[in-house]
């Protein structure tokens, strides 16, 4: 910085950048551009991509994971994380299959799925908020605990024979190619968007994520908000368990294996800061679409799944590094 510059009075903007400028610089726009590029690349790479039924089938690659990602986004913005979500799916699915053996019908199965999700979420939440344990440690533990119970109950066996009205949650179509899961995904996206961006509760989540101590002194009941978020994540895992179990029509203890990483990837790719305090639901929605399109597009080219994970990993690092690299080039120093 030159002396001449230093002697001038520092320019303090009297307002934030104009709305169009902010949109231009936003993460969501970057993601949208990437999504459009991937869409175009897919249409070029495979003649089978632009088919309504094929695209409809492809939505199942992300709908269930995205449902959990919405709640996970809120939790990560608040500075916590839940790595046990896939374990919760396994346990909730096992509980539903177990109830099925005793003749439970569709309504009971749904209640059990939601109930197990909530109980698991409450368990995580209590350990974090009451005992003050770090959520990453707690949920790494419960991840194995929940799935472990499924393995003990099922071993190498499977529960199946779910009723046909239950199958609607995973295989049903509301209208033409629009599946029930896709509608649920859209409805949940709107609900979570409103809760995070237009309610007092949403502002409290950001406040906690930015500075939990300051939030406490501002009168926010931090433990209560975090508890609600763990319950929500558990509940969403329960909903995902219902959809996935209905879609598969069977329960095995390996169900939804390693989904927690895909859910967290979706959230982080969506622009949610892993350190908490920043992020949007729109970003998560676009990230879900991107991940769905990438896996489906590469699947059409018969790219092996291992290469697909490499691609997703590279995409994640690339997208996160890009803004920092731009800043580095512009200012000559890293943020």
């Amino acid at each position: 910085m030159s002396i001449a510059e230093g002697t001038r009075p520092r320019h303090v903007p009297d307002r934030l950048a104009s709305r169009p400028a902010r949109i231009l610089r936003s993460w969501e726009l970057l993601l949208t551009v990437i999504a459009i590029l991937i869409f175009l690349a897919n249409t070029q790479a495979s003649p089978y991509f632009l088919d309504p039924w094929n695209l409809s089938d492809a939505t199942f690659n992300f709908t269930e994971k995205a449902m959990i990602a919405f709640a996970m986004a809120l939790l990560i913005i608040a500075g916590e994380i839940d790595l046990s979500v896939a374990g919760i799916i396994a346990l909730a699915s096992t509980a539903m299959g177990w109830a099925l053996q005793y003749g439970a019908g569709m309504p009971v199965l749904v209640l059990i799925g939601l109930g197990v999700g909530l109980v698991c979420g409450a368990f995580n939440g209590l350990l974090v908020t009451r005992l003050g344990l770090p959520s990453i440690v707690v949920t790494i533990g419960t991840m194995s605990l929940f799935r472990g119970i499924s393995y003990i109950v099922l071993g190498d066996q499977a529960f199946n024979g779910y009723p046909s009205d239950f199958a609607f949650f995973g295989r049903g179509y509301v209208f033409w190619v629009i599946s029930f899961e896709l509608v649920l995904f859209a409805v949940l996206a709107v609900i979570y968007g409103v809760v995070l961006h237009a309610t007092n509760f949403g502002r409290q989540i950001y406040a906690i994520g930015n500075n939990a101590t300051a939030a406490t002194f501002s009168g926010i009941r931090v433990a209560r908000v975090k508890m609600i978020l763990f319950l929500l994540t558990g509940l969403m895992s329960g909903i995902a368990a219902i959809c996935l179990t209905a879609r598969l029509g069977s329960t095995r203890p390996s169900i939804a294996f390693a989904w927690e990483l895909e859910v967290v990837t979706m959230v982080v790719l969506g622009g949610v800061s892993i350190l908490g305090g920043a992020g949007s639901i729109l970003g998560v929605v676009i990230a879900a679409l991107i991940m769905g399109m990438v896996t489906f597009g590469l699947g059409l080219l018969n790219v092996p799944g291992i290469v697909m994970s490499i691609f997703i990993g590279a995409l994640l690092i690339g997208v996160i590094a890009l803004p920092r690299l731009i800043r580095l080039v512009r200012t000559g120093k890293a943020a």
């Binding site: 495979s46 003649p47 089978y48 991509f49 088919d51 094929n54 089938d57 492809a58 199942f60 690659n61 499977a158 199946n160 295989r171 996935l244 879609r247 598969l248 029509g249 069977s250 095995r252 390996s254 169900i255 939804a256 294996f257 390693a258 896996t295 489906f296 699947g299 059409l300 018969n302 092996p304 799944g305 291992i306 697909m308 994970s309």
Partner: protein, 331 residues
């Protein structure tokens, strides 16, 4: 870039694209879906399928599968194969029921669906190819022992548990054909419960009770390894031949030491080859999957479908010193 040049390039690209689609249409595209990728057994099966494709000339193998052995991973794979309108899907299923809806959708769209190795429920496939059958396994295990005993001798069976359905069926099938080997005497059947240490002790017991024992038949991959070890430790290598069903990777040591002269298990290369041949014949309407149908499997002969549209490929493949090195790294 001038407009005419652009148009010329665009036409060229379009023509190239159309050209590749036309070529793809000529080939019969057979998707071989594994339980998971990175498993030697399935890689070997894919090699067999490629061999079949080469022999057929106008077949193309798409070898694919999920990264972990989950049903939802296989469903994603099936959906993308359906979207590509492949001609046939041949799957080794992670869950016989969960993949059924996705496979039914494939069949509705005119895709030939068969299962192999690990079967799919009958409503989700046209036919299933099992690597072998109970009958053929029973006949093979006694033949393995008898072939090395031209002058006859005493054999004992080391099984898994006394309630193991598979082993009991195979032993029963073996006893049915014992009269073909009049000089072979079955002296005892013991149970190692598929535990390495118990199988080892039971083998020691056999060696003490029957000092003139000539062979031990262990139709279990756990038992055969333990028995070979016990024979070796007792210094009876060369006197007592351990045989039965085992995995090449686990039995390589026993073959090398001579404690086991030969053993059997399905050959994944043959299985992949036969699967591709069946898928090709069904997809090209050379054959129809229905009870009693006989469908060609190239060099593996013909598959005869039973009432559930299931067929057995062949008797288990015999592994010995001549081929163990090739297969010990496979599975």
């Amino acid at each position: 870039m001038s407009i005419t040049r652009r148009i010329a390039i665009a036409t060229g690209v379009a023509a190239a694209l159309m050209g590749t689609t036309a070529m793809a249409q000529d080939n019969v595209r057979i998707a071989l879906v594994a339980k998971s990728l990175g498993n030697g057994f399935f890689e070997a099966a894919a090699r067999g399928a490629e061999e079949a494709a080469e022999e057929l000339g106008n077949a193309e193998i798409i070898y694919t599968g999920p990264t972990s052995t989950t049903a939802e991973g296989q469903i994603e794979v099936i959906n993308s194969l359906v979207a590509q309108r492949v001609d046939a899907i041949a799957i080794s299923a992670n869950d016989p029921d969960a993949v059924v809806p996705a496979l039914q959708k494939a069949m509705q769209r005119g895709i030939t669906v068969i299962s192999w190795d690990s079967g799919v429920a009958p409503e989700g496939r046209e036919m299933h190819l099992a690597p072998s059958s109970d009958e053929l396994i029973g006949q093979t295990i006694i033949k393995l022992a008898a072939d090395k005993l031209p002058d006859g001798g005493k054999v004992a069976v080391l099984s898994a548990t006394s309630t193991s359905t598979n082993q009991n069926t195979w032993i029963a099938e073996m006893e049915k054909v014992m009269d073909q080997y009049p000089d072979i005497e079955l002296v005892a059947t013991v149970y190692g419960d598929d535990l390495a240490d118990k199988s080892y002790r039971e083998t020691q017991g056999l060696l003490q009770s029957y000092p003139d024992l000539d062979a031990i038949i262990a139709p279990t991959s756990v038992g055969i390894v333990a028995a070979a070890q016990a024979v070796q430790d007792a210094g009876k290598t060369g006197e007592v031949n351990v045989t039965g069903l085992g995995l090449p990777s686990e039995m390589a040591g026993a073959i090398e030491s001579g404690a086991s002269q030969s053993f059997a298990i399905w050959n994944p290369v043959d299985l992949g080859y036969a699967t591709a041949m069946l898928a090709y014949n069904l997809a090209t309407d050379e054959a129809k999957a229905e009870p009693g149908a006989e469908i060609g499997m190239g060099r593996m002969g013909t598959a005869t479908l039973d009432d559930d549209n299931q067929a057995a490929m062949s008797e288990p493949f015999t592994y010995d010193a001549s081929n163990i090195d090739e297969f010990k790294s496979v599975f």
